[in-house]
Each structure stands twice: as structure tokens, then as C-alpha cells.
Symmetry: C2
Subunit: 273 residues, 2 copies
């Protein structure tokens, strides 16, 4: 069997400049922590970017859903558990549990790590679900993830750990969606591959609501599907449709420079408390 | 004397989504790490936000200068040393040294922490200098920082540790500065106080150059002076003037909604390799 446990657990801090005007962690930064946890977990088990990049393969995030009862408050130390729920030839599903430190009940105290450890279970902030594909970096075509280390990822599939939130579903939008914003993309938006970074899309989507809306309405569930890549200089246009009292769907299109054609790059659904 | 050493040292990781298209840490994220190091150092010594906020005081960053020989590469573990160089009634100067882990020569390997520790000194990436004021959060007026814990901060002043980069100087701009961009500000731009966050200004300034410029020209020195506060919804206008072959000065003004008046909020100077 395997040397490492199936479930990885990584500590994080809700840093002050990563918190919004309500003093809670921005969803974008939480998303970044989840992606880091995924990266640490897969690197530690031999199927991460460290192993894949030299053999011209990479993981591509296809979908991410985050459902939170509460977001960690500024200075809170929290942890992210992550595990692979299943793996098929071209896709793998990875889950996340976002929780306080053991014995702290999620106290938002910078010293909470040193609090006496009681018997109580750590507070659960929420859960995440993600879907990843593996691609060949030369051809940009899907690659067989079960061929890596003779299917080593299967040794880490954990089917018994609960992740009690709905899977992502296809975000349906009607003709009634309103064009609400167009933005330019800059240097800070792009990652090492020159693509608009997955976390920046999350920020841009949540920026569609005014600060005053966010002051009153915390995000309950955030879902995003990455449909196609965009690059620095592409213009992004945001369409939004309200689908329930506090639920909205968002579609983002890109328009490449010197073009008028819009192509869909992202779909997202956001529900607020 | 004091229970804690004068110099604090904090470990960080150049996370993948915090690296730019060259695979090096974004200056904005480095700035965030420096501010975190300052925060940890002052909290650990009794004059941080944890102590100040309940007594209606806070630190306000007035100036930051970062001068780098090289930026940490993706997955590099590095450390930030920080110390108080001097403290006067209304201002304190805090320095930073950004360096690799001991014995690793700054290897950009996720496992470099476990590399055999040699005798060689850790690689030095660069240094930072900052100036902070303390203000009363009720009146927004300067507060006497030497009155905190009977001037406890003086116990931590470290005058002997070198910080071999120039102090910030007043950024001079002529009438020849060009208006290069106007942007709206959104939810993701503001911090817990509702002000545009210090790190976001750094990102917006570096976004004035195309990704292709950044691919070829790494930032050597970045200086920023925070002149006034701005809020979500303010429009920011950027003026830029080239002052040497690879040196530029930038002024940012804000225009509040329902106003045409521009007020200066930031001055900055950037030099590239």
C-alpha cells in the first residue's frame, strides 16, 4: 500500500490583507489555499506538478465548488483536509474540508494554536469539491492520468470520507442574462503559463457586487467551471442573471485583441446568505 | 531587557499562484509577506494590531521600498527578517531582509528545507525599508507611539543590523507625466477598514506595464508612498513619467463618485533590470 495517508491536512492563516471589509477571508484567497493544499497533497504522493511538469504533463482545474457555513475571521488559523474521491482516465475528483484547529473551536485568536486541546471536534467552516483533468503540455490534449506511475493515484482514492455538499452542476443561463461589465486584463492577472489565473476569475466575479452588498451578504456557495483559457490583453465580459432571491449565475467571455468575437471562458454560480 | 529578540524571522513559500509569468514571486505578494512579517513581529512584542486595535490605535503604512537582486522562484521557501531601525514619536522605520533558507542557497526546490545544511550563508534576495505612523482610529489623527507600554518599542530598536539599500525619497514628478490609465475600484480592492489595500496599489501600478515587458524586465527597486486613503468606488487615475532608461515615476489620484476633483493618493517609483 501507500507510505502516505490518503487524506492530507495543511494549516493556513487568514492573513489580514487577505480579509475583506467584514474581516473574513476573501473567497479568492480561500480558493488559493485549496489549490495549494491540492498541490502539496499531490506532490507529496508522487503525482503533483513537480513530477508531471518535467514529463510534459500538468493538472488543469476544470471545476471548483466551495460551500461555507462561515468564512475564517482575520488571524484565524485553520486547516484544509484534501483527498481524492475518485479517479478516471481523464478526470479526477478532489474534495476539501475547511476546519478550525483541533481544540480551538475556530477561535479567531492568533494564539489559538497553543490553546489547551480539549476533546471537542474542531469547528467545520465548510467543504469544497473540485474536478481536474491532466493534459499534455506539448499538445494541450487530455492525458491518461492512470498511466502515471502505473495508476498510483488509485492507491490514494478515499471513498468513505464524507463531503456533504452537492457536486457542481452545469450552470444554465438564459437569454435574459445581462451584460454587466467588461474589463481589461493585465500582468497581475496571469499565471506562469500566461493564462488568466483561476483565482483572479473568482475575484473578478465577486467584484460584480458592490462592497456594501458584501458587507451584508456573505457568500454561501461559490461554483466555477473553467471552459477555456484566456490570456493577458484579452477583454473579459461578464453576464449575470439572478436565478433565485440570493442566487446568481455568471458567464464570462473573452474577446481577444483585434477581434470582436466573444468566446465563453468561465461559468459560475454564486449564492449568498 | 526584552524577552524576544530584536530581529524576527518568518518563513514563507513562493506559492504557485503568487508567481508571475516568469515563474517569480509577484512584488505585490512579496509586499504582503513583508507586511505580515511586520505584523507578526510587532504582535509578538506587544505593540502589534492585536494590542492596538482594542485601544483604538492602529499602524498605518506610510512608505515601502523593496530592492531585489532576484525574486524567489516558484516553490522556493524563503525567510524574511524584520526589525525596527528607529522609533520617533509619530513614525517608526522598519527594515526587512529577504533571504533563502540556511544551507539551501535559495534552491527553488520544494524539498530544499530538508537539504543537508552546509556552512554557506543563505542567499540574499534583497531588502526592504518601511515607514509607519500610528494613528488614533477614532480621530484618524497621529498618535504617540512612544506612549504605548511606556515606550516598549524602544527596547527593540536595532541600529547595528545593516540594510544596504537607500531610504525612500520624495518622488518628484514634472508636468510631463502622462495620464496612462483610469480604473474603477471594487470589493476585492478594499481591506477591513474599507480602504484600498496597500498591496492592491502595488498590483495596479505594475499592471501599467504589459506582460511582455515584465517577461524581459524584472523589478529591481519598487518604492511607494501612501499619501491619502481611497475607498471602494473611487476611480483611480495613473500618471507615469519615465525618469531614466528603466526608471519610472507614477502618481495615482482618486476621484470620488459624483465628483470631478482628483486628489493624490499614492506616489511610486519603479526601476527595472
Amino acid at each position: 500500500m501507500t507510505a502516505k495517508s490518503k487524506v492530507g491536512c495543511y494549516p493556513f492563516l487568514a492573513e489580514p490583507f487577505h480579509c475583506d471589509l467584514t474581516g473574513r477571508l476573501f473567497i479568492g484567497h480561500l480558493g488559493n489555499h485549496l489549490l495549494n493544499a491540492a498541490d502539496f497533497h499531490s506532490n507529496d504522493r508522487g503525482f503533483g506538478m513537480n513530477y508531471l511538469n518535467p514529463i510534459h504533463k500538468t493538472w488543469v482545474l476544470s471545476r471548483l465548488a466551495i460551500e461555507m457555513e462561515e468564512l475564517p475571521a482575520m488571524y484565524t488559523r485553520f486547516q484544509v483536509e484534501t483527498w481524492v474521491e475518485n479517479a478516471m482516465r481523464f478526470f479526477t475528483q478532489r474534495n476539501f474540508k475547511i476546519m478550525g484547529m483541533a481544540g480551538t473551536s475556530g477561535l479567531s485568536d492568533v494564539d489559538s494554536q497553543t490553546a489547551p486541546s480539549g476533546e471537542e471536534a474542531p469547528k467545520v467552516y465548510g467543504y469544497g469539491r473540485s474536478v481536474w483533468a491532466m493534459i499534455d503540455t506539448d499538445t494541450r490534449q487530455p492525458a491518461d492520468l492512470l498511466a502515471i506511475h502505473d495508476g498510483a493515484i488509485m492507491d490514494y482514492v478515499e471513498v468513505d470520507k464524507p463531503c456533504p455538499i452537492l457536486k457542481s452542476s452545469r450552470v444554465k443561463m438564459s437569454e435574459g442574462a445581462q451584460r454587466v461589465r467588461t474589463i481589461d486584463t493585465f500582468y497581475s492577472d496571469v499565471d506562469i503559463n500566461g493564462h488568466i489565473n483561476s483565482v483572479k476569475y473568482i475575484e473578478h466575479i465577486l467584484d460584480l457586487w458592490e462592497a456594501e452588498w458584501h458587507r451584508v451578504h456573505a457568500v454561501h456557495r461559490f461554483e466555477i467551471a473553467y471552459v477555456a483559457e484566456s490570456h493577458q490583453g484579452d477583454r473579459l465580459t461578464f453576464y449575470r442573471e439572478q436565478t433565485d432571491e440570493k442566487e446568481f449565475c455568471v458567464r464570462i467571455t473573452k474577446t481577444e485583441s483585434a477581434s470582436d468575437v466573444e468566446n465563453e471562458v468561465v461559468r459560475s454560480k454564486v449564492s449568498f446568505f
